[in-house]
Amino acid sequence: MAAFMTPGIDPVELQKHRPQLVRFAMLQLRNATAAEDVVQETLLAALQSGASFGGQSSVKTWLVGILKHKIIDAIRKQSREQPLESGDEETDIEDLQDAVYGADGHFRETPADWGNPEAALNQRKFFEVLEHCMEGLPKKTARAFMMREVMGLETDEICKELAITASNCWVLLHRARMALRECLEGRWFAAGGAR
């Protein structure tokens, strides 16, 4: 074993997680090269700092933790160098709302009862559906949602990185939630996925 590697961390084991990590990074960066880069950095950092892996979490959870930091760094760098072009359509939520609410402002169709959705959190398949739904979001909307809900950043930081106003940020997040709610309902909860 090379001197820079830490005992207990198997490079082959790490590689097995690569596809999942790349999908994770792609969701947020929407750029294959950038996604490969952050995953590469993540695996390298994992190999070099294997000592920080106490075995208290799964290897995947540990890697995802490192990856989140690398993604945030990449987004900061990207927002300085080549900010996402502002697509007006992304901060416009009217079309989505028109589909859900009638002219009187009430639901056209009542949201379905999701039963006990927590059970889904134990199912691998559910996260594949969630991933698919997040992939369907527009670029900026996806990025805002992931920064907020997957990475747990506060909105003022998100506004700064995306160079948008706070109210645009709230609209993006609202839009993401509506779209994901709809997508999960159709593809998981109404499809009997919870069974």
Binding site: K16, H106, F107, L130, L173
Partner: protein
């Protein structure tokens, strides 16, 4: 200020309530609406669930993916 929110208006406040502190008036109006609206109450729970799901992403890693 209108007293009653429509579901469409409530939806924005429900979502924003996850991301910022709502004002006293906003909270009061939302509370009144949710007290009488099962659909928006359901949606509130679903938005909150989305957060838990996103935090848990990419999920359990027992069975490897094909």
């Amino acid at each position: 200020m209108k007293l009653m929110l429509t579901c469409r208006e409530a939806s924005s406040l429900i979502s924003e309530g996850i991301d910022r502190d709502l004002g006293i008036a906003e909270r009061a109006r939302l509370r009144v609406h949710l007290a009488i609206c099962a659909a928006c109450t359901r949606m509130t729970r679903q938005f909150e669930f989305l957060r838990r799901a996103a935090r848990a992403y990419p999920g359990p890693d027992d069975e490897p993916r094909k």
